[in-house]
């Protein structure tokens, strides 16, 4: 490692005061601290510090996203070949599917990181503050909530919008009100609805031949369009137009995730791997995840009891493992900056997030992805929830004082 250190040592003077590139010191510092955790010793306060820092926290979230990313790459290829009528078996054509998916997905990831980090570095240099690591996660989340067929320029515009309007105008990492990745998605959803919803966007077909019966519909849209009195689970079909067969088989496909949808959201299994990792490492809030799940489950159960249409009639578990619910629960709702900050607040925030997700999904056909709207709404509500939780604490203290007096 010494030689890498020597390289940094030799170019550092250029960036320090009086150097040629002193303006870019923060950018240089960002790179150096990425490679070497700096040898700063404590000066005031506690003499020892916990081993964790923000880089590790963010890195762990990125690690948790890897299963979803890898699955998303494969599934993008899988859906494509299903639509083309090739390799329709899940186990067939693995390499072709991965290759096709990688060509589709990786550019989206790269564009998201280049645009986002570029803006972050630029602002850090301009405002002379250290580069915060928040975008390491946002940069991975943004591609995973995009349809595979999204044009790259849209990814770039959405990322820029999310970083600048969603985050930096509020003061940067730690200050934002809305989850940046969801801001990016919501921006595209409202600015370019035809590219973010409907049946044509989920499966890249490259305009080529499609199998008979191809619709490109997601399960959510199928559930919404199911004829009255029918059970959606029995009618559901895949990208090749093949019915899954039974309610259990539909659930099986949704759990593993070989269904159409945004890149990272389809596989409940891959997301659960990430969730286990986040909970195991303690990085993700179990309170938010659990209460979000319970909220979604309650709403699904209520709908099933009500049963006014086939979408309401969907089995609660099926309801929760399709669409973006799981992804939102594990990776979006748990964002510590935009979630409620008090423990009590987290329960309320998570529960209503899950509750509203399913409610919006079922009630409003214009927003099949209710999760996005629900989490953004709860992001806005989180400070209010916290406010009342803190107010209750104040009341307890005042009451105690009165009793004592």
């Amino acid at each position: 490692m010494q030689f890498i250190k020597n390289i940094f040592d030799s170019i550092r003077p250029n960036f320090e005061e009086g150097g040629k590139f002193e303006k870019f010191y923060r950018a240089y510092e960002g790179f150096e601290t990425l490679v070497f955790v700096p040898g700063h010793a404590t000066k005031t306060g506690t003499h020892i510090k916990d081993a964790i820092d923000l880089k590790r926290t963010m890195f762990f979230v990125v690690l948790a996203l890897i299963p979803s990313l890898l699955f998303g790459i494969w599934n993008t290829g899988h859906q494509h070949f299903l639509a083309m009528g090739e390799f329709s078996d899940v186990s067939a054509g693995f390499m072709d599917k991965v290759l096709f998916g990688a060509i589709k997905v990786l550019p989206i990831v790269i564009v998201s990181y280049i645009v986002g980090l570029g803006i972050e570095f630029g602002i850090a240099v301009k405002n002379d503050h250290a580069i915060n690591e928040g975008f390491l996660v946002s940069g991975m989340l943004i591609p995973l909530v995009m349809p595979a067929d999204v044009p790259l320029w849209m990814v770039a515009v959405a990322t820029a919008f999310a970083v600048v309007i969603g985050k930096e105008v509020f003061g940067g990492t730690g200050m934002n009100i809305l989850n940046p990745a969801l801001t990016a998605r919501a921006f595209l959803f409202f600015a370019y609805p035809t590219k973010m919803s409907g049946n044509a966007v989920w499966i890249p077909t490259e305009g080529g031949a499609q199998v008979d019966g191809y619709t490109g519909e997601t399960l959510l849209s199928q559930a919404y369009n199911a004829p009255d009195g029918a059970n959606f689970g029995e009618l559901a079909y895949d990208a090749a137009g093949q019915q899954f067969g039974s309610i259990a088989d539909t659930m099986w496909a949704s759990f593993w995730g070989w269904i159409p949808g945004s890149i990272g959201e389809t596989s409940a299994f891959a997301i659960l791997l990430g969730a286990i990792f986040l909970l195991w490492s303690g990085i993700g809030s179990w309170r938010v995840m659990l209460s979000f799940f319970l909220g979604g489950l309650s709403m699904s159960l209520l709908f099933r009891l009500w049963g006014a249409n086939p979408f309401m009639d969907v089995y609660p578990l099926q309801q929760l493992i399709m669409g973006g619910f799981m992804f939102g629960m594990v990776f979006m709702a748990t964002d510590p900056v935009t979630a409620a900050q008090t423990n009590m607040g987290k329960w309320i925030y998570g529960f209503f997030g899950g509750f509203l997700s399913i409610m919006i999904r079922v009630f409003n056909p214009a927003y099949p992805e209710g999760v996005m709207m629900a989490i953004l709404f709860m992001n806005v509500m989180a400070p209010l929830i916290d406010h009342y939780v803190v107010e209750a604490n104040i009341k307890r203290r005042l009451k105690r004082a009165k009793v004592a007096a």
Binding site: H40, A41, H47, K49, A51, T57, G174, A401
Partner: protein
């Protein structure tokens, strides 16, 4: 009513090098210093000049705003130097000790009332041991507190064992407790770990409310104990005093002689044989650590690693401290340290392996920041290590925005920087929590009185 409290939040940081329960050879220090900076917010007025002869118990300086509160020399000798800092602020009053120790004597024949106890303690320089909540500053002798708290154990990493340090001082400790009782209308609370033996100093003490606290640090912090037993509301005063100081006060009231000797622990991973020593308040660090350390770039801390101050080998033992911790400095950058598994590092988060495979014998943590200052991102960390009904992040925000009313409502009266030291330790964003709390308390003193 005695209470049993189970503390659930908090954390023990398993540092290696806790002091073994053995008393080492005492080396009498030749140089001592009393540091006005140990007493937060104090404006000292000097009464001695360089070269003056002093005895143990002779006044060195007093509080400009409360002239009854006097600060005295711990030993007899000559005032060697008054060290000043910026704007001629007095940092240290250094004393070179005589080989023959002499002490001032005081009339302590009648200490039956609170007033008389106060006068005796004020005159002999024992008063500064008594601190008050709110604000964690020296108590005002004009107040009558609603209760007085003594913590019988130190739960901080490398903290000393008071039971051991006070062994055999039952009579002095009891005398101290009796004296404290005269100054309050309420109770004197003594908190211990559950299951203490009856023949120890704390077990034998009578006339006190004995409370037991189980659970991790900061269970031993008196602020936490007050919060759970007799919380401070607006306008109320509670006093707190260190267990060893109680025995020192008792010793003084029994003998009438000023004697500031006490037992301290020398601990930490850089100490060859961590153990206890008898020394005096204000002793030079050199007299304590000389020849007892492992070679290397060491940080000598007066106090524990969470709340102590970096005094260096040339510094002096703080007035309130009863442990000297020596840790290795951590100034080496680490290649990709944020990815590395880092088996030798300890973390309260589970992103390191320390929770799965705790290192036997504890961790030799160094003083590395383990990262850099960042914006506040990760929520819930502070709450996990603060066993109080207080929302720490909201209190800190109120302090930073100087919102006095909010600070008051959110618990500034109950908190001391040391209570939130673990929050600072655990913080992912490396925020200086104790400094913020201190500045909030300063603001509260200034605005609310």
């Amino acid at each position: 009513m005695s209470k049993t409290v189970k503390i659930r939040k908090g954390a023990n940081i398993p540092l290696s090098g806790s002091a073994e329960k053995v008393k080492g050879e005492a080396t009498f220090a030749s140089s001592f210093a009393i540091k006005p900076t140990d007493f937060h917010g104090l404006i000292p007025k000097l009464v001695v000049k360089q070269g003056a002869e002093v005895k143990a118990g002779s006044v060195l300086f007093y509080d400009k705003y409360n002239e009854h509160v006097k600060f005295v020399s711990p030993v007899s000798g000559e005032v060697a130097e008054v060290v000043r800092g910026e704007k001629r602020k007095i940092l240290e009053v250094r004393i070179v000790a005589d080989s023959n120790q002499a002490a001032e004597t005081f009339d302590v024949s009648d200490v039956s009332t609170g007033e008389k106890v106060k006068q005796a303690l004020l005159a002999a320089g024992y008063w500064p041991f008594i601190k008050q909540r709110p604000y964690d500053v020296i108590a005002d002798p004009k107040d009558t507190p609603k209760s007085i708290f003594v913590s019988g154990f130190d739960s901080a990493p490398l903290g000393p064992d008071y039971d051991f340090a006070l062994h055999g001082q039952n009579a002095d400790f009891q005398k101290g407790i009796d004296a404290l009782k005269t100054m309050t209308n309420g109770a004197v609370h003594l908190s211990t770990r559950p299951g203490g033996a009856a023949d120890t100093v704390f077990g034998a003490a009578s006339g006190v409310e004995k409370n037991t606290f189980s659970g991790p640090h900061p269970a031993g912090n008196v602020g936490i104990q007050i919060h759970h037993i007799d919380p401070v509301n607006k306008g109320e005063r509670v006093w707190a005093i260190n267990a060893q100081a109680v025995a020192m006060i008792g010793r003084f009231l029994n003998s009438g002689k000023a004697d500031f000797s006490k037992t301290i622990a020398l601990a930490g991973s850089q100490v060859e044989k961590p153990r206890y020593f008898t020394t005096h308040i204000g002793a030079s660090a050199k007299s304590i650590v000389d020849g007892k350390l492992v070679d290397g770039d060491n940080r000598v801390i007066s106090g524990n690693p969470l709340t102590g101050s970096n005094v260096g080998v040339d510094g002096y033992l703080g007035f309130y401290d009863d442990v000297v911790s020596v840790l290795p400095e951590g100034k080496e950058p680490q290649f990709l340290g944020w990815i590395a598994p880092n088996f030798n590092k300890f973390s309260l988060s589970r992103s390191y392996f320390s929770w799965l495979m705790p290192k036997k014998g504890g961790y030799a943590l160094n003083t590395s920041m383990n990262g850099e200052d960042r914006a506040f991102v990760v929520s819930g960390e502070y709450e996990n290590v603060l066993p109080m009904d207080i929302y720490p992040v909201y209190l800190l925000k109120a302090i930073m925005t100087k919102d006095i009313e909010k600070m008051e409502n959110l618990g500034i009266y109950e908190i001391a920087p040391e209570d939130m030291a673990l929050c600072e330790y655990a913080c992912t964003s490396k925020i200086e929590v104790q400094n913020i709390v201190r500045s909030g308390i300063d603001l509260a003193i200034q605005e609310l009185g």
